[in-house]
Symmetry: C2
Subunit: 434 residues, 2 copies
């Protein structure tokens, strides 16, 4: 009995299904298993994958409908759609002049004193209308769609007051409704101490825990709560209070942990069974086992470290060898990573974290999906999952990080629908042949 198919991708020179991990994030040596199939094919029906694997097997198992969309991959690479598990995409205003100051050697504190840094983005985002935020979000979601990103997490955190945080999350909801991508909203009210609470960070944190988290949860505006746990920002105890409140209200939790100083944020993330602990630049080996045991995903952001000219990089090899599932994300934000290319992040991860090309692919697909609670729906090409995939203008997986900075996404399919073709946005749902 053959299954019907309304989308058929054939003649993939190399197909990376990222399947075979039993629905779980890939960890340990398995992180390097991208499910590589030579001469592969993918079939989908009503937006879901029905078969993915060797072309002959796929063709034998499905019966394409007469008007099925057929894509000839022409010997090129096919992967799952990419998943960006950590972004701050909802903001107003760039900070290009701060980049120039930083290059000239200005210390971050000097930049803050000059009115720059995160508080500049807070001012601009507070001053922006919800409509302006929606427009910026849609523009950036379109930008990253052309780069192959089909699922994306977006944090608030530039409002730092209930009204402005709600405005951000409502903008995310509206942009998500208009966008092609699946969007996962995260409340990051504890991203920085707002200017009006200067010197009273603890008081602000308590307000986040006691007033903002309940309000965000009851409005259904976020799936996760995240905290920037860092020396001089929010300490361990404040982080715990906020995340425990999140859990009481049924929200998942995430932590910006150990980016600069080893406060123990990763260990706290594990204790609270956070879905992810992010950054982890200075997380020492003695904290890795806790992450592994808790099933907490390590979301590494190597483009940010590079952009900040840090010499220290997250211990990706150690984490992988310790059995911690590693994801990679862009951290797209106007201060420390003003771009959203996951393929570029893959390149930087290979070069600075010594991850292999296959490990980086798993990190921006299956593991990234698990890092935002979407591992059952996206991140790999296997029956029952959503038919999100990319045909790349290159023959093999190694090319993706190798051709650093080159735009290779040719065709992007989201839930079985062709949304990018020839590197350009398709606005109708017309069929494609050849």
């Amino acid at each position: 009995m053959k299954q019907p198919a309304d989308l058929l991708v054939t003649n993939a020179g190399q197909l990376c299904t990222v399947a075979g991990h039993g629905g779980r994030p890939a960890a340990g040596p398995a992180q390097g298993e991208a499910g590589v199939v030579e001469r592969g094919a993918v079939a989908a029906y009503q937006g879901k994958v029905v078969a993915a694997g060797p072309e002959a097997e796929v063709l034998a198992s499905v019966e394409p409908e007469p008007d099925a969309v057929r894509i000839d991959a022409a010997g090129r690479l096919v992967t799952p759609g990419l998943v960006d598990a950590h972004t701050h995409l909802c903001f107003a205003g760039w900070r290009a002049e701060e980049f120039g100051l930083r290059i000239r050697g200005a210390a971050y504190l000097d930049i803050l004193k000059a009115g720059g840094g995160i508080l500049q983005t807070v001012r601009a985002t507070r001053a922006a209308s919800e409509d302006e935020l929606v427009a910026g979000l849609i523009e950036r979601l379109e930008e990253i769609l052309l780069l192959g990103t089909t699922t994306v997490e977006i944090k608030s955190g530039y409002g730092l007051a209930l009204g402005a945080e709600v405005k951000q999350l409502q903008a995310v909801r509206r942009a998500a409704a208009a966008a092609v991508q699946d969007v996962v909203p995260t409340f990051l009210g504890a991203h920085a101490v707002p200017p009006e609470f200067q010197g009273r960070g603890r008081e602000y944190a308590m307000m986040v825990a006691q007033a903002m988290v309940p309000a965000i949860a009851s409005a259904g505006l976020a799936e996760y709560v995240d905290v920037f746990c860092e020396d001089g920002v929010f300490g361990l105890e404040e982080t715990r209070r906020i995340l425990e409140a999140a859990r009481r209200f049924g929200l998942g939790v995430k932590v910006h942990a150990d980016e600069v100083v080893h406060l123990g944020g990763a260990r706290l993330a594990a204790e609270l069974e956070a879905v992810s602990a992010d950054h982890l630049v200075v997380t020492p080996p003695e904290d890795w086992e806790a992450l592994r045991a808790a099933g907490t995903i390590a979301v590494l952001l190597p483009a940010t470290s590079f952009f900040l000219m840090k010499e220290k990089h997250a211990p990706a090899r150690g984490l992988i060898e310790a059995g911690v599932p590693v994801a990679l994300a862009t951290d797209y934000n106007p201060g420390t990573q003003p771009g959203g290319s996951l393929p570029l992040v893959m390149s930087i991860a290979c070069l600075t974290l010594r991850m292999t090309p296959a490990e980086t692919l798993v990190a921006v697909t299956l593991n990234a999906a698990h890092a935002i609670g979407r591992g059952e729906r996206v991140g790999s090409l296997e029956p029952g999952k959503e038919a999100d995939l990319v045909v790349w203008n290159c023959p093999t997986l190694d090319h993706l990080p190798y051709r650093m900075g080159v735009r290779l996404a040719d065709t992007v399919v989201k839930r079985g629908r062709v949304v990018v073709r020839g590197g350009r946005r398709v606005t109708d749902s017309g069929g494609v042949t050849g």
Copy 2:
């Protein structure tokens, strides 16, 4: 008396003319002077700039023809077209699998033993037909045109035998005739010791000097001769013999110098009045004055160092402060830099060489033009120079390196003709308004 204009670019939020260096490469503190004009405009006639500067002044000085092409930059950044002064664009075959091996820790010697490395490209390039090389060149020239590159140097060096080198340079000539860009051909017969001369590098070098250089010169196939002067490749004496032969035949000279070991290639370049010395990763301070005194341009390739995971970077700040004009180039080649984005090179130069955004712009325009003998024709927007310019999707120069990896080129003009619009190739020469 107003001058006629057939192209008018108005409303540049920021115009960087890179003018004001008196026709010479920018050196010392002047390397940071990008000729920034707020609310600028550029007018051109018959492919040449007739005015560039504050919009009111430009508009007062020209009389646009009725059918002049008008471009409203809409508050965005306008710069000269970019110049890539060091590429190996004429090759066959990628080396993506070698990238994977390298990440896994394979030493370069192991890769060579496994049949990889430069000799893999030599095999593939020798096996390719001239037509195949032309097709690859045209594809890559189109790729970099969309990134804002309007002038480009292309080296041979994967033939390593007279016939195969001539095939490469003939392919370059044919591609140049078809391409939008100005192309400057360089003969790099001494790029590596060919397999059939293994252990007899000196003999090969003498053949390059005595037989190949004269043949290439008399066929008019190259403007420059370049040598890979490096420990284990070609020594100082071999380099000198080849470059002295080049000078006798009226060709300009360049040197791949001091990339890994300090052999003294930069000093030799200065002695031979080379137009450029390239790489310079390990050139010590005592060699800088010779470069300055000779007027030899330092062409730095920071994307290559990053791609090779080197911890040591070229001494850009020292060179600039010593008064050596610094250019930046991609080094586009299949082994150590398989991409051609000069804006990405600008980002990497800011982050790893601590060059300022303005210094990087001068380095990929005026100084790069001088590094390939085109400083009198392109590289800045001033009367009499060719009207090569780019309108970028950002408001200021700082944005170009800041938005790392984001494709920002919107409109590209070559010799007064719009060749890219909205980031897409324009194949006809139709007018553009607004």
